[in-house]
Subunit: 347 residues, 4 copies
């Protein structure tokens, strides 16, 4: 038992619970040694469920515990960057939920701390580990569809989050599209240089009043000339809609949604299927397991993590460029945004 | 027999032949009374095949023939506008292949002539008559999917045309995207106000040398705030790729390609289908028949044509806006282009 | 014009109308020269619609008309065999709707007349000309799926015919399954030697009172050991259900139904399609055209017809074997039925 | 920890390993307390992997251990019936892999022992717990498709087992079709009264030499008149083929195979998918977890098991009837077989 990776879980909310259960019940090579959460009861319940021996009242105790090898940062986004820095200074390997932060300054500081100490960092872009998207990446890497020309990412939520969440989310581009920015880079193995964002409030006027949008169409230009789009909407009445399609010089690959079963019912009214999986936990359950499993393997075998700090930073640059494009009504180069960030840091 | 609509076919090339055969073999209420083509042999062969009694050497003879009720203009694009004007002045009803012309000045002159005489004009946007796209329009009109938020049009050719054709085509936006501009208006029942075009040469460098593009992603903003995209490529290795998808407040509707059969073959290598229909004549055969049938009915029952002169003009404005957007790297409002056209006409 | 095949249509009912329109509007190499029907008005209406010059009051007049090259027998089943004999004696080539007759004696007499005169005979098993089933046959012939092991034919009507029709139909096996018996032979290129039929009255008790069944599952043994099934039901609430599936040593091929469009609608209730084509005229429209076209070509080019007299006879043997199997509750060899027929003829 | 159900695993082969891992890593309410296997090394390896505290050399030790609440019988089929009897006498609840035995005499003796002691017994028909088949059953139970008329079960293995296994398997009907017999009863909620089996050796002549068949088509008659078929083949080159389809008075429901991803690749050759899951462990992984979970819940909550002893017996009767039908070339009523068994027992 002592050879298992000892993991501390910071944040026992929805995603913290998923990761803790994954480690406890599905990953023999790791164990959750400690958990902490501002809400002590939530932490206690999770500890009970997963047999976690230590429940710490304060996050600092996790970092101070010499038995802890690695931490999973599952707390609210505004705490991510600071916790990464603290964890790095304590010599803990780090798995951090996305996004790392809403500002490049804080991200850069955190990545600097990680780099100085040399601990491993993985950012929680779980969708890379979904078997469908992994299959698309493979088709591109292997040359199965030739040189990519056009990319489409469809990414729609079943319904909008509460307005209270919208207000602190950093906006749709940082909260929701961030996954798609990562997906675009992951699939194409190429960086985006310019983004044009057309966006609107179509689903709920309250989202507009909160200064955000709920529907968007983004055009990405990659360094190699490939053109990509991201289609976002906060509401797809039929469920979680998560698809990609790539046209290449030799063919195309397209993925469909994931359904709870493969049954087709034909009646006098229609030929129909049950709705695709509605809840992101159901839709991406396997990917959550795989990302944590790969993190544990990266740490225990001393290999690079599959989603590193730079992978956590670039999508934030993309989100900032998208926001700027939307506000200014023109395509924006990523260098404009990153430059501004650098200048701001220099002040 | 004498009560049949007497039709003159101008141009006995590929599309002229299709229309002549449709009228001859599939539309009992009309007959091809005359045909003309610069290449007399081609006209003779078609006359033989369809039992067309008169083969005229010159187009003027068609217009001068008092027995002719209506003409189908199937000649090269650069002749369309003038022939519309002549036909209108001769009092003939007109079916004209798309596009009407590459310039708004000539289009406006032709539409003016039609308006003055009061003959009927239908423009050959055949795809409106495809059962798949008609079903999408119905879903939008009936409210089946609620208020539309996002539209996607995928429109890819199996392979690029000869470079010689590319050079006189007016460019991809006027030659190929023109159908998709019409489709966008048709499906949404709404006008586009602004277009952003991202385009590239990905398929064949020769197309670039000819001053054109072969791959494009366009973002359309409609007057009511709906966002649309058009995805174009001159080459889809698997065949003619023609799909649309609309997300609305109550649901979505998406169409697939058309296949020569509904067979699935499963072997040790893959689970596969035969390729979708490759040739536009196969893919859209039914729609060619339906558009001509509706033209004949519009004339014989004195009803408005389903695709009128304005429907022929607006997609050209859209193509010009797309071209301008591509060249200037920014979204362009249709009013900019139409204004320029009006100013040019005023000079 | 005079070189066109001159066709006489016998019977101006539903299928006679389809064939007459096909020849008139879609087959340039043939023309309907005459039509006859016990109901003179129906014949007149069809003649008007298709421009058929002669309407005969009696069928004998068609046979007596020296200008007629070939006849299409589209009258009621009980007249088929006699009309084939008369047509053959008059030297007319013959296209006859299925089934040729309900008894082997009359079929054999008719085939004998055809053989003696040497005219061409094609039986109207139109489904062979459907692009889906043709694709399956091709997969088997070409070896694409290896040696066939198992065959499934699903063949279900949208709803049962009127009871009055059921009573004179010869029973479901002769009226409905007959098409599937032909399909089994066509697809496999092999004869069936034994049939086991399990059947029931599930849809309408009135059908049972009329001495017939409405639901059946048949097991076919082919000469080469392949096992096949036919699944029949007089009622499929979702529409006309016509599919086949073949498992071979190298793979399988399966066909789906034919739909009016390729649209998928996703709402909060379901992901659905419109119903498959309901009416056999819609479902098999293309095949009706192709079978008549091939008949015309067989006659004009003096080639064998694609569905000959033997092809018309064997499915009747199969239907009789199926009926016997159902009544006796055991598998029945085709030789038992054919033998009985021969013995009956000898009496 | 002490409140967890204490399970003893008998047999540490392929399926024993799956069940042990499921309990260890996925079912918090149970734990594997002991394991035994004739091959001690295999048992040790599994104990190591799952942290099982006790490895017994002999099965009797499992039964004698008072800490054990329930046993999972995962040993070879010929041992099942005796082990059930021993376990029952030891007061252990029992989960036993299918089939219980190849003879009704031994099954009846085992079920008698279970009944006398009153322990719970669940038979390992895992496919009932597959989400696809569960959905079909729900459609039938809820009336969604009305009264069932026709049932099809397609059940084909990717490839045949080794001949050595074929020889001791009890024959295809007892080894492979047994799952489909259970499925037929499960889906329809109704008993089969008569079976007709048409079978052949198509895949491998060696299977024939071993006295078995490798391809079969069975017709089932249910007590309520519904007709069903089972289609079996030992070889489907494209992978594990497991589908069902039911036609009812109001509609139909059909399931497709399960694929590793939802990607479609379109190239100049075909529009294709990757192969369906090949290995039964992959295809039915979820169902193995669910059946064990439900067993644990049935024991801990003192509820009936979802697949009881009678459910284990009837499919064996059906297999014997199918075998008899195949050998005698006629439909066989289940009462014939069960009667023979009863008579044999009485001797």
């Amino acid at each position: 038992m002592s050879s298992k990776l000892q993991v501390g879980v910071i944040g026992a909310g929805r995603i913290g619970k998923v990761h803790a259960e994954t480690i406890t019940f599905r990953i023999p090579d790791a164990t959750v040694a400690a958990v902490t959460d501002p809400n002590g009861t939530v932490a206690e319940v999770l500890a009970q469920r997963c047999g976690i021996p230590k429940v710490y009242a304060r996050t600092e105790e996790v970092f101070a515990d010499p038995a802890i090898d690695a931490v999973l940062i599952c707390s609210s986004t505004n705490t991510h960057a600071d916790l990464i820095t603290q964890a790095a200074k304590a010599g803990k390997h780090i798995f951090c939920e996305k996004p790392v932060d809403h500002t490049l300054e804080k991200i850069d500081a955190a990545l600097e701390a990680v780099a100085q100490v040399g601990v491993k960092l993985q950012v929680g872009f779980n969708r890379r580990f979904d078997s469908n998207f992994a299959r698309v990446r493979e088709a591109i890497r292997s040359g199965e569809i030739g040189t990519p020309h056009l990319l489409h990412i469809i990414s729609r939520d079943p319904g909008p989050p509460p307005i209270s969440y919208v207000k602190v989310s950093g906006g749709m581009f940082l909260d929701m599209t961030i996954h798609d920015f990562d997906m675009a880079r992951f699939l194409m193995g190429e960086e985006v240089t310019e983004i044009y964002a057309s966006a609107a409030v179509r689903v709920d006027p309250e989202i507009g009043k909160a200064g955000d949008v709920d529907t968007a169409l983004l055009v990405l230009r990659f360094a190699n000339g490939t053109i990509g789009t991201i289609d976002n909407c906060r509401q797809a009445p039929y469920g979680y809609d998560q698809r990609v399609e790539v046209l290449g010089s030799k063919g195309s690959i397209a993925t469909d949604n994931v359904y709870p079963n493969r049954a087709v019912i034909s009646t006098a009214e229609s030929v129909r299927r049950d709705l695709p999986l509605h809840f992101f936990m159901d839709r991406y359950l396997d990917s959550f397991e795989r990302e944590v499993r790969e993190f544990v393997e990266a740490v225990t075998h001393d290999r690079p993590t599959p989603v590193n700090g730079a992978d956590g930073r670039v999508p934030v640059v993309m989100a900032l460029a998208a926001r700027k494009s939307y506000l200014e009504g023109r395509p924006v180069r990523l260098s404009e945004v990153s430059q501004e960030a650098h200048e701001a840091m220099a002040r």
